[in-house]
Symmetry: C3
Subunit: 317 residues, 3 copies
C-alpha cells in the first residue's frame, strides 16, 4: 500500500521540487480547513460544546378557570364545573352531566332512577368562552435560575393570549385552544376529551434573562385513540352525598363528560462553562496542530520514501 501511495509522489525533474512544496501546502490548508470547520460548525455551533445544559426542570403549575355555564337552567360557576377545584396542572371542565338522583345505597347502583336527567349538551357550548389563567414557575436547579411564565410588570387584568399579538399573556381562551387543536367544540362537549397545553422553556442563559420565556403549544391528547369506537371521549362518575332528616345517607350519582386539560412543562437551559470550553478549544488546537504536523511528516516520508525507493531500485538494477 505504501508503495502505491508513494507512487503518486515520484517526480524526477528539478521543477518537481517546487510542485512538491506547493502540494504539501495545499493539502495542509485543506486538512486545517476541514478540522476548523468541524470544530466551529459541529462542536461549537451545533453541539454547543462551550455550554453545559440542564433538563432537570423543577416546575409548579397553578390554574384558574373563569366563566359561567348553565346546566338545566341553573347557573353554574367554577366551583360547580371545575374538578378538582384546587387549580392543579391537570383539571377538568365538566361539559355534560347525567344525574341519577336520590340513590339510597343498597339498591343496585346501575339501575338508573326515573329522575335521571341529561343536561342538553348544546346549551353547554358556552364553555368555549371560558378563560384559563396559567401561572407556571420553574427552576433550573443546576444554574439556580427561577423564572415565571409572565413578567412581574405585566397587567394581566384584561389581556388574552395570542401567539402572534400577545404571546406573553398567560390567559387562554378555550375557544382559541380548540381552534389550534382543530377540535369541534360541540362534539367535544358531548363526548368529552383531553387537551394538552405544553409549556416549553428553551433558555440560553448567556443571553439576557428576559429572553428566557416559554412557548405555548396545544394538542389533542387522545388523538391516538381517535378511531377507536369504544374508548372515545372522556367521562367519569362521582357522587354527592346527603342525609335524610332521619340520618339515612343517600347520594346523587353524576356521570360527567368533561374536557380534561393537562398542563405539561418541559425545558432545557444552557450556559457557558469554563471546563468544557477549555477542553474543546485545546482539543481543536491540538487537532489543527497534529493534523498539520502529521500531514507534513506523512508527505515528507512519502517523498523521501519514494526517492529512496527509486534509488534502491536503481542500485538493484
Amino acid at each position: 500500500m505504501m508503495g502505491v501511495i508513494a507512487g503518486f509522489f515520484s517526480y524526477e525533474t528539478n521543477k518537481s521540487v517546487v510542485v512538491k512544496s506547493w502540494s504539501v501546502g495545499i493539502i495542509n490548508r485543506v486538512v486545517q480547513l476541514v478540522i476548523i470547520t468541524y470544530f466551529v460548525c459541529y462542536v461549537f455551533l451545533y453541539e454547543k460544546a462551550y455550554q453545559v445544559s440542564d433538563t432537570a426542570i423543577e416546575s409548579s403549575v397553578i390554574t384558574k378557570v373563569k366563566g359561567f355555564g348553565e346546566l338545566n337552567n341553573r347557573v353554574m360557576d367554577v366551583a360547580d364545573y371545575i374538578y378538582p377545584p384546587q387549580g392543579a396542572g391537570v383539571f377538568c371542565i365538566l361539559t355534560r352531566i347525567i344525574v341519577t338522583d336520590n340513590q339510597f345505597q343498597g339498591r343496585c347502583p346501575e339501575v338508573r332512577a326515573l329522575s335521571d336527567f341529561i343536561c342538553p349538551s348544546s346549551s353547554m357550548l358556552e364553555f368555549k368562552d371560558f378563560t384559563i389563567f396559567i401561572k407556571n414557575s420553574i427552576r433550573f436547579p443546576l444554574f439556580d435560575v427561577t423564572r415565571g411564565n409572565f413578567p412581574s410588570t405585566l397587567n394581566i387584568t384584561n389581556c388574552t393570549f395570542d401567539k402572534d399579538l400577545d404571546p406573553s399573556c398567560p390567559i387562554f381562551r378555550v375557544q382559541d385552544i380548540l381552534r389550534e387543536t382543530q377540535q369541534n367544540a360541540s362534539v367535544l362537549a358531548k363526548k368529552g376529551g383531553e387537551i394538552g397545553i405544553n409549556i416549553e422553556w428553551q433558555c440560553n442563559l448567556d443571553l439576557n434573562i428576559d429572553r428566557c420565556v416559554p412557548k405555548y403549544s396545544f394538542r389533542r391528547l387522545d388523538a391516538p385513540f381517535e378511531n377507536n369506537t369504544i374508548s372515545k371521549g372522556y367521562n367519569f362518575r362521582f357522587a354527592k352525598y346527603y342525609k335524610t332528616e332521619k340520618g339515612t345517607e343517600f347520594r346523587t350519582l353524576h356521570k360527567a363528560y368533561a374536557v380534561r386539560f393537562d398542563v405539561m412543562v418541559t425545558g432545557k437551559a444552557r450556559k457557558f462553562s469554563l471546563i468544557p470550553t477549555v477542553i474543546n478549544v485545546v482539543a481543536a488546537l491540538t487537532s489543527i496542530g497534529m493534523g498539520t504536523v502529521v500531514c507534513d511528516v506523512i508527505l515528507l516520508n512519502f517523498l523521501r520514501g519514494a526517492e529512496q525507493y527509486k534509488a534502491k531500485k536503481f542500485e538493484e538494477v
Copy 2:
C-alpha cells in the same frame, strides 16, 4: 526509549527485508481491525451513534376502574370507592373505611362517637376482581411522534392484560397486579398500600412505528418501608358534610385504608440522524486511515532509524 524499540527491528541479512514488510503488513491489519471493531461494535451498535435520542416524553394518563364492592351490607360502586374520581394517573381504591358518624364541629374531633363502625375488611377482598383500564397517550417532542398504549383497532370490550398472551390489552385485573408484585391481598386490604404501574416506552423510530409499543411492569412502591413498624400501609382521612334542618353543619369522618396506584410513564425514542452519522463515519474512516499511515510512518522510521543508528555506530567504531 527510541533506541530500545528500534533494537527490536535491527536485522542484517537480505532475508530480513522480507520479514520487515511482512510484519508491517500484519501490524497494520491488526490496528485496522481494532479500530473497525471499536467503531462498529461500540460506537455504532452499542452507543447507536447514527441516531439521536429523546427522553423528554410528554405523557397523559387516564384510568377507569370497574367492579362492585360491599361495605357494611351496602353495595358500593366506583363513585364510592375510587378517590379522586376523575380517573387520574394516581388514584386510590378504598379497601376499608372506619366511619365516625355525625360529628358536630366544636366537639373534639379525635374523640370518636359511639356510632363508629369498622367495615369488616374480609368482605372487601373482592377488590381483587376489579379491573383497571389505562389509557396512555405519549409524545416525543423532538420527533413529533404521538402514540397510544393500544391500537385503534383493538376491541377492548372483553380483553384482559396478560404479559404473555395479551400484552397489548390495556385492561388490568387487580388480582394479576397483586400476583406480579407478590402482595397478600387480605393484608393489603386491611393496611392499605401503594402499587406502581410502570409504562415503559422504548422506541426505535427507524423501524415500523407499530413496533413502538409500551411494556408494563408492576412493583410495590412502599417496599423500602416494609420493615418499619410505624409507617406501614396507606390511609387517609376525609369528611362528608351535611346540614340539619336548622342549617347546622355536621360531618361524617372517614378514615380510609386504600390501595394507591401510581401510573408512571418513562420513555426513550431513537431515530436516524444525518449529522451524527456523517460525523462518526468520517471519524471512523479518518481513524482507520490515520492508524494505517501512522503505523507505516512509525515502523518505517524505526526501520530506517535502526539502520542509521547502526550506520552511525559503525562509523564511530
Copy 3:
C-alpha cells in the same frame, strides 16, 4: 512552516546531539503529563467516565399532615383543612376561608349572601405548628435500585427534621419550612402561597447503599410573581352541596386561601460499568502511546529534516 520550525532544531556541534536527545525526552514527558492529567482529572474524576448514570427516576410521594386549627371558633382537623385529602405530593393547607352560605342555584352566584363570613386570619396562624410527614420511595430503573427517604429502622414517632441535627427524619414542621424560605407566616396565611419541597437524590451506587440518602431543600415557588400586584398569593373556590327536606339542592361556596406544598423529586444515580471504563482506559493508553511515539517521530523528522535541509543547502552553494 516546516522550515521555520526546523530552524529551531538546527545545531552544528557534537554537543548538540546530547541537547537533542535531552529536549526530545523533556517534550515527551510534558506531552505524557498533559495527556495523563486530562484523562485522570477530566475524563475520570470530573466526567466520571468509568460510570454510567441514570436520571430517569421513578418516584412516589405520600404526605400526611398533622395539627389542629380553628375556624370561626370551630375546631378543624386534617379532614377539614387539607385538600385534596388523599395525601398526594401536591396538597394545600387551607389558611383562610370566605364562606358564602346557602346559595340556591339559579341565583347569580357572584352576589354574596349576607351570611358571608371571613374567618379571622390571625387565629389561623397556628398552621405554623403543623407537621408534614413525607414518605418518598424512588427507583432507578437502569440499576433496579429502590430506596426510601428514611431508614426502615428509624423511629419516626417523635422526631423532627433538622438539616443539621436530624437530617434523616421525614417529619417537617411548617414553621421550619417557612423560616428556610423566609416567608412571613401571617402574610402567607392571609394571601395564600406556594412552597416547593425539593427532594434531591444524588447516589453513587459504587459506595455503600446507605449513603444513598436524599437532601431536602425548600423554596417559595411563586417568587417570580412576587412583585405582581394582581396575581398574588393562592386561592381557589369550592362548594359543599346540601339538600333541603323537599330535595332542593343548595350549596355553600368557599373561597379558600391556602398554602400549597409541591413535593418535587429529582435524582441521579451513577454506577461503575465495564464497557465505558475499558473504552476510556484503552483511549487513555492509546493517547499516551500515540503522543509519545508521534512526538518522537515528529522531533526525529525535524532534526533529520533540518540536517538534510542544511546539507542540501550546502550542496547548492
